[in-house]
Symmetry: C2
Subunit: 373 residues, 2 copies
């Protein structure tokens, strides 16, 4: 018996749909000796993390905390805390993660309706306006901000405008957007949002920062039935994460929270606007470089995400073989297409620490060699 597998791991440049590259200071933070989950020093750290998350979400009220699961647990948590059987939910969807919302909400016995868009194209706000005008009220309107499966930026701000005077709760998936492009829950009137640590925050996967507005917390507190998920019940989590006396709920993932703290520190020290600009610059560099080697983007320019780039696989190229070569020969990971886009696109991530000029050069060079040979 030995831990040889760990010592033999390659150091791979992570340019897929997440995880992104993790900076040394975050890795080091993970290895900080473990404290107890009720230790006064750890509670101080929890308070600091919550304050940093408020800055990240631009949340002036409501609550922010990191849930003890990956980004998908964040999706599960926002829906399970806000839905009761029979609640009407409208999902605007155009990719894997919108589909997943529909699945999650359906399992919770919501009455789910959807507005569907072709993968690779964005949600059309005007359709929402018409849908709301012609339908009974919804409890929740949900959308993915940055659709990681297609590289599409959905119009979160326009949707916010339409929902401004609507009683529905606005639920926004910010897994891939948070930290890499503007997310402003206060300005947009978002009521529930969730993210993951392994995208633009450059922390390993394992935690889900979530936001609930005061309106969402009110909805949660006036539920008729208990949240059918003890582990993710936010009312109970609140007793641990805030308030005078910290009530034990479950043992928090201490070391992952050390990592998140260090990762948030990096993002906020750089500054959100500087981080967004860096992501955009890396994206422009990538798109220009791809253009120079005749590779096309899937998504039209105005709806492209900076941090997730869907590149059309040219005719005659074995996309899986190319990804394998990139991984083995160039030590670069890029992502495959999913669902209807499987075999048709590559997904190149420029998330967090990954988004810098050297990395973009490296993937462009590797692609050029691999596509041309």
């Amino acid at each position: 018996m030995s831990t040889e597998l760990l010592h033999d791991l390659d150091e791979v440049l992570l340019m897929g749909p997440g995880p992104s590259m993790v900076p040394e200071s975050v890795l080091k933070a993970l290895a900080t000796p473990t404290l107890g989950h009720l230790d006064p020093q750890f509670i101080e750290l929890m308070d600091e993390i919550q304050s940093m998350l408020r800055d990240l979400f631009r949340a002036e009220s409501g609550l922010c905390l990191p849930l003890s699961g990956t980004g998908s647990a964040g999706m599960e948590a926002t829906f399970v805390n806000l839905i009761e059987p029979g609640d009407r939910v409208l999902i605007l969807k155009n990719g894997v993660f919108g589909n997943r919302m529909e699945d999650v909400a359906g399992r919770l016995q919501a009455e789910v309706e959807t507005l569907d868009y072709e993968w690779g194209t964005p949600v059309v706000p005007q359709d929402l306006r018409e849908k709301l005008a012609s339908s009974a009220p919804y409890k929740i309107v949900a959308m993915v901000h940055a659709e990681t499966s297609t590289g599409v930026a959905n119009p979160a701000e326009e949707v916010a405008e339409i929902l401004r005077d609507n009683p529905a709760l606005y639920l926004l998936d910010c897994v891939t957007s948070l930290g890499g492009m503007n997310v402003d829950v206060t300005e947009w009137g978002v009521d529930a949002a969730y993210s993951g640590t392994q995208k633009c925050l450059s922390c390993p996967p394992g935690l889900a920062p979530v936001f609930f507005s005061d309106k969402a917390v009110d909805a949660l507190r006036s539920r008729q039935s208990k949240v059918p998920n003890w582990y993710l019940d936010v009312t109970m989590l609140l007793s641990y994460w805030s308030g005078e006396k910290r009530v034990y709920h479950h043992t928090a993932p201490i070391n992952m929270l050390y990592g998140l703290y260090a990762a948030l520190d990096l993002v906020l020290t750089e500054g959100l606007d500087a981080s967004f600009a860096r992501h955009r610059a890396a994206h422009r560099q990538l798109v220009n470089g791809l253009d120079a080697i005749d590779l096309q983007m899937l998504v039209e320019e105005k709806s492209r995400l900076p941090m997730l780039n869907a590149v059309v696989v040219p005719e005659g190229i074995d996309e899986a073989a190319l990804r394998k070569r990139l991984r083995q020969e160039f030590l670069i990971e890029i992502g495959a297409g999913l669902g209807p886009l499987a075999g048709k696109i590559w997904r190149i991530g420029l998330m967090g620490h990954t988004a810098n000029p050297e990395n973009v050069d490296r993937v462009l060079e590797a692609l050029e060699k691999s596509v041309s040979e």
Copy 2:
């Protein structure tokens, strides 16, 4: 902005109810550069972890995998995957974690019955025999093996004997027992079990090793309704964790899994029986030492857990002040009592890496000084 909070953390000897002390090699493993969750090297590691978990649970068939949440997510997962509304569930309970089972199962609309025992005393197998003889069949009979809130070892083997010819699924909480005392899902015919990483495995909190027997997997596959929890749906997780083609479900907590791999390696290299013996020896040393300073155990000898020791707070001692002094002056964490035992006991953990003679000496010395002054 700086990460000063992390640099200023004390190094605390963790002798509470978990987390336990994390060995250097496990901390170091956490800081291994992150790979992608579909990387071939990472998939090799996943396979190895599953194989190690089978050894740990002594599972000759069925499935073992680590869920992406803490031990409490393990409880949530076993119940949510196996329960459908109206299913009859019997819970044998005598502490916080038995109560939690009742809460979790109730939220899932199970028809829950319980056999209740005074906190600090064990479940009585004969009662189960009588209950089964006089009741309609149960789908699940559930019990906590090592009740962390009281220090009681429940009679998992005797319960197994009674359930041997019963159609009910035997669900066993092994959060605190796994790795520190015998757990043998094959010999005992356990159908679903879960644990946490931060107890006798000496890995930071954040993952929940779970076991499902073939019988439990059959039950899961013949459900009438979808599992009402997308994140913890084991049928979908299986497609990622095993099989020819690994289907993306959620992004696994890569670095935590590095840590678990290193932690499992330590436990299995030591050998399970040697680990159990070390836990028993540390426990005997502690009990003898406590006896010498006139501190009494809550639980009678034959039902005491080795890794969680409930010590009666003597009359006239401010238990919270003593814990605070241990933490501040001696840099030792011990746990408080919960529920009806709040203020009445301390909980001293001897879990995993914590269970060694030096640590026992250190806590005894600190207690002696603090109690006598």
